[in-house]
């Protein structure tokens, strides 16, 4: 893609008489008395000039942004990603009930279908459900009772919680209009223990996404430090770090991860296990980034601007932090974005096998554990829904990451 096409879309060009721009360009505004033909010609020239000018004065980040937003799919994925991050921050707001609320009498309630219209007006409601035991199999059979209408509304009041652990609130995105009926809304059904899937999904999103992002964060720190040392100083540290990377990369990942997580003591609290798993995931995650950082440092070391900084008497720390790293920050962000879904899938797989996070922690993998049994799955296929969320999350991270990677080099064609 050619970045020169970009300014055509810029809103500012629609009024070329913008005083600031005219000043920057040094172009005298066209007098309105000129003949029509010549005016349009001058205007074209003016627009072309401004295009050139805008590109040459735009900062690196602006160029990256211009390029990124051309990729409509990546922008759309970015919006979904922002939505997911909001859920991570306040899952309580999206939940309809306490995710730990168990009631075995409410097990395996199917997904409720939302009806939008009632008595000719927009008044969404979900039908109530009536459970009856099959006299032969003793299986609970839920039938929809259309006569019992549980009205739902946006911004309903429900159980109280603290936003980010600070501010008290009892507001929820969706909930029963009548607080009395709060325990009757199961938008995505319930699991074996009668826990509400919708609410559990909100909480699981928090844990699973954070694991992915924190472990990539740790990988970035390790990758920058070790890759930086390796590329900037060279010599024996480079030798040692490169061998270490090769060793770690030749390890079979999944079996080793399994062994590592199996080694975590069963007595550990969920928080401890959570952090242990982020560290375990980061242990190999940094190697890819370190390789990239090393390559960048190796080529940048020879650049004129680094030599200039050295001659100007900059300290090594300053050269690295102020002059070198900013030149490839966008690449690091792109690579990290692409690394997050790998971490998420790994955590999900480990927890699914029962070796990662364990209940009472709620993650997508922990939720999917409920879907391990095929007979149960045939009975309650909605237990697979957390998997759909995993797929969506991985998809948007990949699309945003790809978009960023393509945009990261704004000067390439």
């Amino acid at each position: 893609m050619d970045s020169r096409e970009e300014p055509n879309e810029l809103p500012i060009l629609e009024n070329p008489d913008h005083p600031d721009l005219a000043e920057v360009d040094g172009v005298v505004p066209v007098p309105p008395t000129l003949p029509v033909e010549s005016a349009s010609a001058t205007e074209e020239l003016l627009v072309a000039n401004q295009e050139e000018e805008r590109i040459s004065i735009a900062s690196n980040w602006t160029l990256v942004w211009w390029r990124f937003r051309k990729n409509k799919l990546a922008v759309l994925s970015g919006l979904i990603l922002i939505f997911l991050v909001i859920i991570v921050l306040v899952p309580e707001f999206f939940a309809t009930m306490d995710p730990e609320d168990t009631d075995a009498r409410l097990a395996f309630i199917p997904i409720q279908s939302v009806h939008w219209i009632d008595e000719g007006r927009l008044k969404p409601w979900v039908p109530g459900v009536v459970g009856k035991r099959d006299p032969v199999t003793l299986k609970m059979i839920w039938t929809v009772d259309e006569s019992e209408k549980v009205y739902i509304k946006l911004f309903a009041e429900g159980y109280s919680y603290k936003i980010l652990g600070l501010i008290d609130s009892n507001l929820h995105l969706i909930g029963a209009a009548d607080p009395e009926q709060a325990g009757k809304v199961f938008l995505l059904g319930t699991d074996r223990l009668g826990r509400d899937q919708w609410s559990r999904l909100a909480y699981a999103t928090r844990i699973s996404m954070t694991i992915g992002m924190i472990s990539v964060g740790v990988s970035i720190v390790l990758g920058l430090i070790l890759g930086g040392i390796s590329g900037y100083f060279g010599g024996w540290p480079d030798m040692v770090i490169q061998r270490l990377i090769e060793l770690l990369q030749s390890l079979p990942t999944i079996p080793i991860w399994l062994a590592l997580t199996a080694a975590l003591p069963r007595t550990w609290s969920p928080e401890k296990v959570f952090f242990a798993i982020t560290i375990i995931l980061a242990l190999r995650g940094w190697t890819t980034l370190a390789r990239e950082v090393r390559g960048r440092f190796l080529s940048l070391r020879e650049e004129d601007f680094v030599l200039a900084a050295e001659l100007a008497g900059c300290s090594q720390a300053r050269i690295i932090l102020v002059h070198m790293i900013p030149t490839f920050t966008s690449h690091i962000i792109a690579t990290s974005t692409l690394a997050i879904p790998v971490m998420i899938v790994t955590e999900t797989s480990l927890s699914f096998l029962g070796l990662g996070l364990r209940p009472p922690a709620i993650s997508w993998g922990v939720m999917l554990q409920e879907a391990q049994n095929i007979q149960t799955l045939a009975l309650a296929p909605w237990l697979l829904l957390p998997g759909v969320v995993v797929i969506v999350a991985v998809l948007v991270f990949n699309l945003v990451g790809d978009g960023l990677r393509d945009a990261a080099d704004p000067y390439s064609n």
Partner: protein, 329 residues
């Protein structure tokens, strides 16, 4: 070339020794050992073991020795070509693993062949029919294929088959062949079952390979030699297949390096979900039961498979691309 391969071969034992130390530290790491787990299971079921028995078992397995002595004993048995005794099954590990190792490798290779056979033609089609509807469709499928965790795909397929066709698609053999000795009929039975896990394991790799192939080929299609070929009147099919496709496939050899090892270890989770008798579920079980020699041996085998996979890819790469060959020698 020969020298390069020899150098790589010499490195393997060094790597394996390093890995064996790592692996042993890992299987040793959980608190307690097989006996404490075993005693806990016994007491949970109401029975118990007296101290004399416990001591005798500890002595037999060498669990009373310090860690480095245990490691040394394990290494000695490895050097003799034995993999130690499984604490749980009370059978030599080599026997337990041996019958499953072949299936692990067969499954990975089948998935590998599937990937290449499917990805290359689709990649070529996608690149030559750029921005067509089918190309967009392929791109969408590719993105989904990469995003879907393979155990999830296995679950969905198993559920669909069970709920709508009332068939169970787990396992690698029909019931009557499960314990039977190898025969031609059993082999045919294996072929009847292996295709589904093969697809499940291969899907993600196929999606990625298709994308790489498409990108590589598009780069080649824009080169001037294509114009000159057209000017000389070559048919489009001949032109594409003879030059750019060959050039676009070359870099793919380097993907084998990470793909083969990934297939070996990636089948682990799918195997557990689909109940395939390869070494994956065995590893999972031995890890949870702290059957440490068995777990250690399987982990070491995964390491060896990973090393061999990388080696094969490096040799292939040097073989297909003379530039690398020249550089290395």
């Amino acid at each position: 070339m020969v020298r390069y391969i020899l150098q790589r071969l010499l490195l393997i034992p060094v790597l394996l020794v390093l890995f064996s130390i790592m692996v042993f530290a890992l299987v040793q790491a959980p608190p307690g050992d097989y006996l404490t787990t075993y005693i806990a299971t016994l007491s949970a079921s109401g029975s118990s073991m007296d101290q004399a028995q416990v001591d005798a078992l500890e002595k037999q397995f060498g669990l009373d020795q310090p860690v480095h002595v245990q490691y040394w004993r394990w290494m000695q048995s490895l050097a003799r070509g034995e993999l130690g005794l499984s604490l749980e099954y009370q059978r030599p590990n080599s026997e337990l693993i041996g019958e499953r190792l072949g299936l692990t490798i067969a499954l990975a290779l089948a998935a590998f062949v599937f990937t290449w056979v499917v990805a290359i033609p689709i990649g070529i089609y996608s690149a030559t029919h750029r921005n067509s509807i089918l190309d967009y469709l392929i791109t969408v499928i590719n993105y989904t294929g990469v995003a879907i965790p393979n155990f999830m795909l296995a679950l969905i397929l198993m559920w669909l088959a069970y709920a709508y066709f009332d068939v169970s698609i787990t396992g690698l053999f029909s019931r009557e062949f499960e314990q039977a000795p190898w025969s031609f009929a059993k082999f045919i039975d294996l072929l009847k079952h292996i295709w589904l896990p093969m697809i499940v394991i291969g899907v993600a790799g196929t999606a990625r390979l298709t994308r790489v192939m498409r990108a590589n080929l598009i780069d080649e299609l824009n080169k001037p030699y294509m114009v000159s070929g057209r000017a000389r009147g070559l048919s489009e099919w001949q032109l594409v297949m003879k030059y750019p496709v060959r050039l676009a496939i070359n870099p793919l050899a380097s993907t084998i390096g990470w793909y083969l090892p990934e297939l070996f270890s990636g089948s682990l989770i799918v195997a557990t979900v689909m109940n395939l008798q390869n070494i994956g579920p065995l590893l999972l079980r031995s890890l949870t039961n702290q059957d440490m020699y068995l777990a250690g041996s399987i982990l070491l085998i995964y390491c060896a498979l990973a090393i061999v996979g990388t080696l094969i890819s490096d040799i292939l790469l040097a073989w297909v691309d003379p530039r690398i060959r020249m550089e290395k020698s």
